[in-house]
C-alpha cells in the first residue's frame, strides 16, 4: 500500500496530507489523554503499536505471485477507537519512508490516509457492528482486522486511479488495474492478519479482561473472574 516517493502529482500529495493532518492531530490528543487519565492502559497502547510495527514489516507471499504486507492497525482501532492509529501509522510510515525508501515523504499523507485512517475506521465500525449483531468476540475481531487490511489496499488503489486515470477507460479502468495488483494479492494476507489479530486479542482477553471491559471491548458477562 506504499505509494512510492514522488508518484503522486503535487496537488494530490498536498491534498492527502491536508486530509490526514486533522486525524493525526486529534489522534495525538487522544493518546495524550489516555496516557494521563488512564495510565493502566499504557501497556495495551504499547501492544497495539508494537503489533503494527511487526505486521507492517512482514512482507508475505501471496497466491498472485507477488509480495505485500499486512498493516496491523485493526487491533489498536478495536481497543482505543480508530483515531489513535493515525499518529501510530504515521510513525511506522515515516520510518519506512525515511530509512527504507519504502513509500515516501511526498506520499506520506496519502499512505497515512489509507493505512492509518481508512483501515482503522473500517475496523472500528465493523467490530462495533459485529458485536451489535451478537457475533462472538473472536469472529468480530477477525472480520474487523481482515477488512481493515483489505480496505487499506483498496484505498491505495482508489488514490492511484484518481491520480492516474486510464487514457481510454478513465478512473474505473485504472482502478481495476491497481486493485488487480493490490486487492487480489491482499486477500490471503488479510485473512492472515485477521487470524493473527485474533491470537493477540485472545491473549489480551485472558490477561487484561478488566481493562478490555473498561474500554467496552468486552461485555461484562464475557469477563472471566
Amino acid at each position: 500500500m506504499h505509494i512510492m516517493e514522488g508518484f503522486l502529482p503535487v496537488s494530490h500529495a498536498v491534498g492527502w496530507s491536508l486530509a490526514s493532518l486533522p486525524f493525526v492531530g486529534y489522534g495525538l490528543h487522544v493518546i495524550k489523554k489516555i496516557l494521563q487519565e488512564r495510565p493502566q492502559q499504557r501497556m495495551l497502547l504499547g501492544v497495539a503499536t508494537a503489533f503494527t510495527f511487526v505486521l507492517s514489516a512482514l512482507k508475505m507471499p501471496s497466491v498472485t505471485g507477488s509480495c505485500s504486507h499486512p498493516t496491523g492497525t485493526g487491533l489498536g482501532a478495536i481497543l482505543f477507537g480508530p483515531v489513535v492509529m493515525a499518529p501510530i501509522g504515521l510513525v511506522v510510515l515515516f520510518f519506512q519512508a525515511l530509512l527504507l525508501a519504502h513509500g515516501g515523504l511526498t506520499t506520506l499523507g496519502a499512505n497515512v490516509f489509507s493505512m492509518g485512517i481508512v483501515g482503522p475506521f473500517a475496523a472500528y465500525g465493523i467490530f462495533r457492528l459485529s458485536r451489535g449483531l451478537g457475533l462472538p468476540f473472536g469472529l468480530s475481531v477477525f472480520l474487523a482486522a481482515a477488512m481493515a487490511d483489505l480496505l487499506t489496499y483498496i484505498t491505495t488503489s482508489v488514490q492511484l486511479a484518481w491520480a492516474f486515470p486510464d487514457p481510454s477507460g478513465g478512473f474505473a479502468a485504472s482502478f481495476l488495474k491497481f486493485a488487480g495488483i493490490f486487492a487480489i494479492t491482499q486477500i490471503p494476507l488479510a485473512i492472515s492478519e485477521g487470524l493473527l489479530t485474533v491470537v493477540v486479542a485472545n491473549t489480551l482477553k485472558r490477561f487484561n479482561s478488566s481493562e478490555l471491559q473498561e474500554m467496552k471491548v468486552l461485555a461484562s458477562q464475557e469477563v472471566r473472574v
Partner: protein, 105 residues
C-alpha cells in the same frame, strides 16, 4: 478446542503463507528476456503500472536515503519487526507473571 484456538489460528497463518510458495511456479524465461521474477513487491508493480498508464509522468521527488542494497533493506525491516516483537514479548512475560502472582496470593 478453546484451549488450542491460538495454536490452530497460527497454523492457519502458516498454511496461508506456504500455499502460495508451493502454488506459484516460475515461468521459464523466454530467450532474450530478463529472467522472470516472482514474489516481487506489489508496491513496485503499482509503480510500473503508473509508468505504463502515463509514460511521460516524471516522479518529482526522490527518496532522500535509499538502502544501499537488498541486504541493508532487510536489516532495517528485521529491526522494525524485532522492536515490535520485543515489546510484545515483554508484555506477554509481565502479563503471565502478574497472573501467577495474583493466583498465589
Amino acid at each position: 478446542m478453546k484451549k488450542y484456538q491460538n495454536l490452530l489460528l497460527l497454523a492457519g497463518v502458516i498454511v496461508l503463507l506456504v500455499v502460495p510458495l508451493l502454488l506459484v511456479e516460475k515461468s521459464p524465461p523466454t530467450p532474450g528476456q530478463q529472467e522472470v521474477e516472482i514474489f516481487a513487491g506489489a508496491d513496485g508493480q503499482a509503480k510500473d503500472l503508473v509508468v505504463e498508464i502515463q509514460p511521460n509522468y516524471k516522479p518529482w521527488f526522490q527518496p532522500i536515503l535509499e538502502p544501499p542494497s537488498g541486504e541493508i533493506e532487510s536489516l532495517l525491516f528485521a529491526l522494525q519487526a524485532a522492536l515490535g516483537a520485543g515489546f510484545l514479548g515483554y508484555y506477554l512475560g509481565s502479563a503471565v507473571t502478574a497472573a501467577r502472582i495474583r493466583q498465589k496470593s
